[in-house]
Symmetry: C2
Subunit: 457 residues, 2 copies
C-alpha cells in the first residue's frame, strides 16, 4: 500500500528533511524590521525553489509589503489550500538566547531532541511538515493524492497588511474546497487537536476625564472628582462576584455547547492544575459555573489589558490627574456581534459617569468569532488520520485566541479551515530559545502524509 511506503520514506529521509529545514532556518526572515527585507525575500525564493524541485508550479508574488509564495500541484483529487507563514518574530532580547537564533542545531532538552532556532516552531518547522509530506508522496508515487495549492505568507508576524488585498485579488486562484493551516499546537503531549472554533475580539480604549487639568491633591483632593476613582469603579463593575460580565446583552444569542463537543472536551482530561500551576495560579477565576476549558474555548471574556493615569514614575507625586485610561478587550464567541457589543459597552460606561466626568473611546480591533462547519468530510478525514498517527485520538477543540487568516479564508474565499499543528506549549515561540521537537517535525510530516492520503478518498 502506497501510504505505508510513503511513511517509510519519511522515516528514512528524516535527516535530509531536517537538513532542509535548517537551511531555511538560517535565513533571517524577520518581517517587522525593514533591515531584514532582503532576508525575507530570500526565504520566499528559497521556498519557491524547493517547491519547484518537488514539481510544483511555484512563484514568488510581490505585494506592497513582503512577497507571498503560491505553488500549484498538477494532480487530481479534492482541491486543498495549504497555508503557513515563512516570516519570523524578532530575536531580542538576544542575550537570553544560548546560541545564535539563526544558527539552528539539534539539541537535547528535557530528554528529547529539539530543533533550536528562531522560527523552528513558528512557523517554518510547521510549514515544512507539509512540504516534506508532499515530497515523500512525490518520491514514492510520482504524484500527490489531492490537488494541492500551497500559499505562504511573509507578513504574519507584522500584522498581515497585504493578506486581505492579496486574497481578494487572487480569490479564484486560491479558493479550494477546504484550507489546511499548520500554525497551531498539539492539544497535549500525544493528543493532536483540530481547532474548529476561534474566538473573536473587541478592543476598546477608554479615557475618563474629570478636571480639565492635573490638580494638586492637597488643594483639590476630596473635593474634585478623581478620574482614577471613576475608572476603577467602572472596571470593578465589569464582572460580578461570580465572574459574569455585566455589560448588558453580553451573553445574548450565545449557543450552549453541543453535547457532542462537550463530551469530547470532557474526554480530553484537561488538567487545570497543570494549566495554571506553571504561571503561579491555582484557582480558576472567571464564570463560576463553567469549566476552564469551556471558558477559554467557548465562552466570552472581558479583560483589562492596560491601565494608566496620574504619576507612575519613581517616588511620589500627589497629583490628582485630569485623566485616567484603560485598554479593555473582549474575547467573543459565536452569536456575539462585535459592533453591537461596542455600543452596549460604551452606553454602559456612560451610564456610570458621575457629574463633571466624561468618557472618550478609541475603537481598536473588532472581529467576530468563527466556527468551522465540520460537516465537510475533510474534517473527519483529518481527525482519523491524526488519530492513527498519534498515541491518543484527535479531538475537535477550541482556541482562546484568534487566527485571523482562518476568518479571511471563510469571509473572502468561502472555505473552512482545518487547523492542525504540532507545536507544544513549551516551544517558546516569540521568545528566546525557540525550539520545535524533532518528534513534532517527524510525526507532523507523517500526519500530513496520512491526511493527504485520506483526502484522496
Amino acid at each position: 500500500m502506497s501510504l505505508d511506503a510513503v511513511l517509510a520514506r519519511i522515516d528514512t529521509d528524516l535527516d535530509q528533511s531536517t537538513a532542509r529545514l535548517m537551511e531555511l532556518l538560517r535565513i533571517q526572515s524577520i518581517s517587522t524590521d525593514p533591515a531584514f527585507d532582503a532576508e525575507v525575500a530570500r526565504a520566499a525564493e528559497w521556498l519557491a525553489a524547493d517547491l519547484r524541485r518537488i514539481g510544483f508550479d511555484a512563484s514568488v508574488r510581490p505585494t506592497t509589503g513582503h512577497p507571498m509564495v503560491v505553488a500549484h500541484g498538477a494532480d487530481d483529487g479534492p482541491h486543498v489550500l495549504f497555508y503557513g507563514h515563512y516570516d519570523v518574530q524578532p530575536v531580542d532580547p538576544l542575550n537570553l538566547w544560548h546560541r545564535d537564533p539563526f544558527d539552528p542545531a539539534i539539541e537535547e532538552q528535557n530528554g528529547v531532541k529539539v530543533i533550536r532556532a528562531r522560527g523552528a516552531s513558528d512557523d517554518n518547522g510547521q510549514l515544512m511538515t507539509f512540504v516534506e509530506a508532499c515530497r515523500a508522496w512525490k518520491a514514492v508515487t510520482g504524484k500527490l493524492p489531492a490537488r494541492v495549492t500551497i500559499f505562504f505568507e511573509g507578513e504574519e508576524e507584522s500584522g498581515s497588511p497585504s493578506l486581505v488585498p492579496f486574497l481578494e485579488a487572487n480569490a479564484e486562484e486560491l479558493r479550494a474546497e477546504v484550507a489546511l493551516i499548520c500554525d497551531t499546537g498539539l492539544f497535549s503531549d500525544g493528543t493532536p487537536g483540530i481547532v474548529t472554533q476561534l474566538r473573536g475580539m473587541l478592543q476598546e480604549e477608554i479615557t475618563i476625564t474629570g478636571p480639565s487639568i492635573d490638580l494638586h491633591s492637597g488643594m483639590f483632593g476630596g473635593v474634585a472628582m478623581n478620574p482614577i476613582r471613576v475608572l476603577s469603579g467602572i472596571l470593578a463593575n465589569l464582572h460580578d462576584a461570580q465572574g459574569t460580565v455585566q455589560v448588558p446583552g453580553f451573553y445574548d444569542g450565545i449557543p450552549e455547547l453541543s453535547e457532542e463537543l462537550r463530551a469530547q472536551w470532557e474526554g480530553l482530561g484537561f488538567n487545570v492544575e497543570g494549566f495554571l500551576g506553571p504561571v503561579g495560579l491555582s484557582h480558576p477565576a472567571g464564570e463560576a459555573d463553567r469549566t476552564p476549558l469551556e471558558m477559554i474555548w467557548s465562552r466570552p471574556t472581558a479583560e483589562v489589558n492596560g491601565i494608566w493615569g496620574g504619576y507612575t514614575g519613581a517616588g511620589f507625586k500627589t497629583v490628582l490627574p485630569s485623566q485616567a485610561h484603560a485598554k479593555i478587550s473582549f474575547r467573543l464567541v459565536a452569536g456575539q456581534d462585535p459592533l453591537r457589543l461596542r455600543e452596549n459597552f460604551r452606553d454602559w460606561v456612560q451610564a456610570q459617569l458621575p457629574p463633571d466626568c466624561s468618557a472618550d473611546f478609541i475603537a481598536h480591533g473588532a472581529s467576530p468569532a468563527s466556527t468551522m462547519d465540520i460537516s465537510h468530510p475533510a474534517f473527519d478525514v483529518a481527525r482519523t488520520a491524526l488519530s492513527e498517527e498519534w498515541p491518543n485520538e484527535a479531538a475537535f477543540i477550541g482556541s482562546g485566541g484568534s487566527i485571523p487568516v482562518a476568518g479571511y479564508f471563510k469571509e473572502i474565499l468561502g472555505m473552512d479551515s482545518i487547523l492542525a499543528g504540532f507545536g507544544r506549549d513549551d516551544d517558546a515561540i516569540h521568545s528566546p530559545n525557540e525550539k520545535y521537537d524533532l518528534s513534532s517535525f517527524h510525526h507532523g510530516i507523517r500526519s500530513w502524509a496520512r491526511i493527504l492520503h485520506g483526502l484522496s478518498g
Copy 2:
C-alpha cells in the same frame, strides 16, 4: 509715629525694592538640576550680601547639598525666625514662556502690574517682602522692632534633604519664640490668611500580583485572575457612594471643628463655583455632608495619585499582566496616626485579595497633621497687622497641603509658625509664566513692617 514713617518709606522706595528683587530673579537658582549649582550658590551669596548691607550678621552656610543663609539682627525684642527659600523650580517647558524666565520684567496682566519671572512668587518675591520691610525699618529708625533671625533654604524645590540635619545641628542658634514663614498665599483677593492647620500625609504604593508572568489573554483570559481587575475592585471600595473613606478606623479620633473656626470659615464666603469652575468642574465630590472648605482644610481624604499595569503604549496588546500598581495618598488631620493608618490600610487591602493574588507595599512619606498653638500673642499681632493692611479682615485658615518646614520647626525647634504670604491662585508657580502681583509685593512688604511693629509690643 515710626510705623507710619516706615510705611511711607516703603511706598517711596518701591521702585528700588522691585529693582533689587529683579536682580535676585536674574539668578538661575534651580536646585534640582546640578547644572545650576553655581547659580544656586550665587543666589545665596547675593542674599547674604544684601542682608549685610541692611546690618545683619549674615553668612552662607554650607551643607552637603545647597547652602543655607543665616542672618542675625542685633536688636532687642521678641525673637522671631523668618523662613523663606531662594531656590526655584525648573523652567521647562521653556517654549510655553512668553519671555526668558530669568529676564524679569514688569508686565500688565488682566489690568494689574505683575513681576514676571521664575521665582517671582515662589519664593524669592515673597522672601524679599520681609527683607525690604527690615530695610525700611533700619532706614527710618536705625533698628528693627524685634530680634530677627533670617533663615533661607536653597533646597525647598528639591525635597529639602539638608533641612532636618541643619536644624538639628543648629537648633540653639535658630530657635526663636515663633517662626514667620512666607511661602503661602492670600485667602482671596483682598483677604489675607494665616494658615494655622496643615494636613499630614500618608503615601502608599501598592502592587497586586496575580499570575507569575504576563499571560496571553486569549490563552488565559477569564480563567487566570487579572490583577488590574483586583486592583480596580480595591480602589473602587476606597470610598462609599457618599465619599466616605472605607479603611477601618480612618475617622477615629478626629475632632470636630471648633465653633469659632467654623464661624470664621463660614464668614470667608468661599465660592465653590469659583474654586471648581476654572478646572472644569461644578460638583464637589468627597464627603457628602461636609462643605468643600471643611474637606480641604480639616477633613482627611484618600486619593489615587497614579495607576498603571499591563500594556499602556500605542495600539493594543492583549496581555493579561502579572502585576498592577497604584500610588495612593491620604491627607491627614489632627487625631490621625499615619503609622497606624498605614497598618489599617494594608490589612484592609489584604482582606480583599482573592485566592492566588498577593499585595506588596512600598511605604512612601508619612507625616502627621500639624495644628499651630495660636495662643502665642504673635498670632493675634499678625492677624491684626494684616487686617490693618488689607481691605478685609485676616482669617486663621487651614491648608489642604503640607508645608514640611513648619512641622520640622515644631518638632525640632519646639516653635509654632505664623504662615502668612501674599501669593495668588493665578501666580502659576511651578508653571510657565510665573508672576507675582506688584501689589502683593508692595503690600507684602508693608504687612511685614506692620507685623514687626506689632511684635515690639
